[in-house]
Subunit: 306 residues, 4 copies
């Protein structure tokens, strides 16, 4: 098959301050589904149309932020190949045993140059998407909230930007799809390991290892309206939207979880192939690049990370 | 990058009886864009969001049907590798020189077991999607008709079904995503070379090398309504729709070009990864598999090909 | 205010064979909300965005069909004025005491020339739409099924077509919005008492007093897709759709309740004023008039009533 | 028929600084259709689905703002009745002869207490909506820009708020649908003469006779996205949106014409009857009342009028 190596963002683990409030946010309001808990107090969630056991892990903590983001690779061989690539790039790796996250196989962990912890893994328990694999309906009844389809990507702020970019594109085989540049300087890089406009994206920052947002896919622009309605009804802090991104053309809305972690839900309007031209947005047009309609950055959008 | 080998359906060449009528159909009503003509009288068309010079070639003929379908591969090496794979499978190949189709590189041609002619190629002139690669708008103004985004896939009827399936999955690395089965017999196979629910699909038939339909992607279900309206306004023969497919969950409408070639325009609602479970539809439920809402096959849908 | 006299279809009372199955259909699948029951075994339902206590009454019976359809008038004076109009037209009226339907004021009942029983009433208990009247959200959480907004209209088959038309337009002040004609003969009349493309519609028939369908409004074409999905998931008999009507431009899907009463859910795409031109559809084009996309009548659509 | 008296906003006449730029804005970008010009240099425009000759008149001027807003009444008798009502309310009227605006009958003109000039008229030439009245398609091909359906309403800022409210509800029979109140003080009144959530709305101001915006109806939320895209592509000053209003639930986007007149395009999600409860928004919640998602007023929204 044509898809090999790193397949997709498999999950992210976010730190949350109050688990009950967080579950209300992620399950009742966004609409993820709880699939398990562990003795560290972590709660495992998935979006309805994901086959794997979880795509979001909430970890009780006294601070917000992202513990790690993990990618699923196609095969065990890919796992060891990328472990070797990472080491050859000069970055230490460590192996996290299977089962440390329930249902997840052995993970190869490393800290990328921009300061974020990433895991790769080849196995995760499949629990299905709530539909049979024989004669399935298009969606299961009883979905909640914004009805997200899948965990889609993270946008991350970090330093060592050039080295991080080199690491992702050379050691991990990601493809640059879109970028923001200021003259010769790349300010943002949107990277895919698939045909999505981004599976992970990085913004140049002086701080290391920051989470800008974790993003979940909706099925349509009408879903973005519904999300905005729920955000207001439930008194969730909105950052901005509904709007469209210039970058990726995504139809989007941004808001915060109760711990201050930023979330996005969006509907996709783009796709890439290895031979797609890189799309470049210029720093003098950064407002339109990010918020296509207003053409103005929201101050918090550039400043607040977790 | 994670996408390698065969990337996508690059184009199909359809035979049409009356070029003027056909261009009115494909350009004014569906909304493809003419990019070139050649001295064989062929006309080259593309959907707006494709980068390559063409994705549909209309060939003047005295009968309808598909001349060939072509896939773009990632690299020249992939081209020779697949040429070798095809030969090793026991199928003859021939090389069509670069430029035989304007803007297209050398092609490797073969007839698959079900009787259809396929080409592989590694190069095609990129003419862009009508938007700059720096600070692009999300879409260009002046789009026409149903505003299709891309040529998406063909559904083909043919014999030697098992061998053809083996050929596509083993020699060409396609992945089975969904199928219709009657007991142990596979009646239909939906195959991807990417993350789409299908890049090509085959239906078991006694006839060899038949085209069921060529399909173009729309951006939303609202686009399917608009397509239905245009079909009626312009007195285009409708087969069925708007409706949803069980298979792939696509939101779809079927109709015929003036030569009797079947077209589909649809909005996608699905995606696959190499580890996605194969979805199986059973023959006793074939109506729902194909037309999810009515759960009844339209007679022509199973019978008419070109 | 500019709206006077007969305001809207206030409710319809349908006969159902099995109340439990019917409630599953109307409440779980379509998504109406039960508001009361009475000692005749009748169950009162409303759509979420209606203020009044009920808009659909299910009556246990051994046959399907419509018991009556009722219109709300603006004032008590209007009620007596229309009672007088009806009598002057030569049709008997009778008064049904307040409370015979729980929460409904006194009704003036009569049988229109086409054989259907209609009630007029000026008062019905308002229970609200589930939202406060101060700082209301745009919709309440917890909606079910197809999430219909309101009971919208009935389409009725009946004889004495000309007299019935004269009665509705002259005695009851309805306005003709659209019609199907065969030469000089009016086959269908769509009638409004408001700015809707129809509040009630009649089809010429040899039978008296038949129900073709009761219709509920959805908020969008995306809702029609969702309705189609639910119809298939829940194994509800579909008649046709999703499609668009030529008449009224409505975006529609038709199906049957467990007793064989036809339902429609639709999204509206039209509006009229008293000075809007009457739109005429010709009998030779009746397929397109009714099902705009296929331009073909479904046989059952013309034949089956309850 | 149930609709009597004042039927709808028939047109507004806006002052524009540069006619060519303005026509590009209103015709190419918003998508109105030019129907005539007169020897005062005024240009007559209509939305596609309006039957009447024009609904927007652009008047060349050296300042922006609204010259007048006009309502169509059902009959000549209504015209004289309202003329009398206005006079009885103590407001002077004057008659503007038929033909002063091309295709428009005699108008009764007056200045309402909040300082805006209004006209009533009973006749306007009908030019149709681009579709035949026999077997019409649901929409005509060749629509441009945002494809607005109709001129829908104006929102006006003015003083003498109480008297103006009394005038509209008592002399002109408008119905209050929604309001913003600060304790006992009404800050905003949304008024209908039909079943729309508003045909005109007033905001309490110290200034007399100001235009806040003229609004055009779109067919769906997807249209609001397309409008936002066009606004950015064409470098039109955006105020805010896409978003939803709390008031009226409208799905909306605001922007400015080249002269500084504010425009709205929106999709409607509400309807009223004479017995609908008045919806009240409290001043402490004014952000959510106006921009439901952000719950924050945009500064310009309250300050800038023309």
């Amino acid at each position: 098959m044509a898809m090999t190596g790193i397949l997709r963002p498999g999950h992210t683990q976010l730190r949350v301050l109050d688990m009950e409030e967080s579950l209300n946010h992620y399950c009742e309001n966004i609409g993820l589904i709880e699939t398990d808990r562990d003795d560290q107090g972590r709660v495992y969630l998935k979006c309805w149309d994901e086959q794997d056991k979880f795509s979001l892990v909430l970890e009780p903590s006294d601070r917000s932020g992202m513990d790690h983001m993990a990618f699923k690779v196609a095969t065990e061989q890919d796992l060891w190949r990328y472990e070797s690539n990472v080491k050859n790039f000069g970055i230490e790796t460590k192996r996290i045993p299977a089962g440390e996250l329930k249902g997840c196989g052995e993970r190869v962990r490393f800290v990328a140059p921009a300061g974020h912890t990433f895991d790769l893994y080849a196995e995760k328990e499949q629990v299905g998407n709530g539909l049979p694999t024989t004669n399935p309906a298009p969606w299961p009844r009883g979905l909640k909230g914004m009805e997200p389809i899948r965990f889609d990507h993270c946008l991350l702020y970090g330093n060592n930007f050039e080295e991080n970019f080199k690491f992702f594109t050379e050691a991990l085989d990601f493809q640059l799809t879109e970028q923001i540049v200021d003259g010769e300087t790349q300010l943002a890089a949107f990277l895919t390991c698939s045909t999505k406009a981004h599976d992970v994206a990085f913004i140049r920052s002086e701080k290391s290892g920051q989470l800008h947002h974790a993003s979940f896919l909706l099925s349509s622009w009408e879903g973005v309206l519904k999300a905005g309605d729920i955000i207001s009804m439930e008194d969730i802090p909105l950052e901005t939207g509904p709007t469209r991104h210039g970058l990726t053309r995504g139809q989007t809305i941004y808001f915060f979880d109760p711990s201050g972690n930023r979330n996005e839900v969006f509907a996709e309007d783009s796709y890439v192939y290895p031979d797609s031209p890189v799309l470049t947005w210029t720093a003098d047009n950064i407002g339109q690049a990010i918020f296509y309609h207003s053409r103005q950055l929201v101050e918090s959008f550039m400043g607040v990370t977790s």
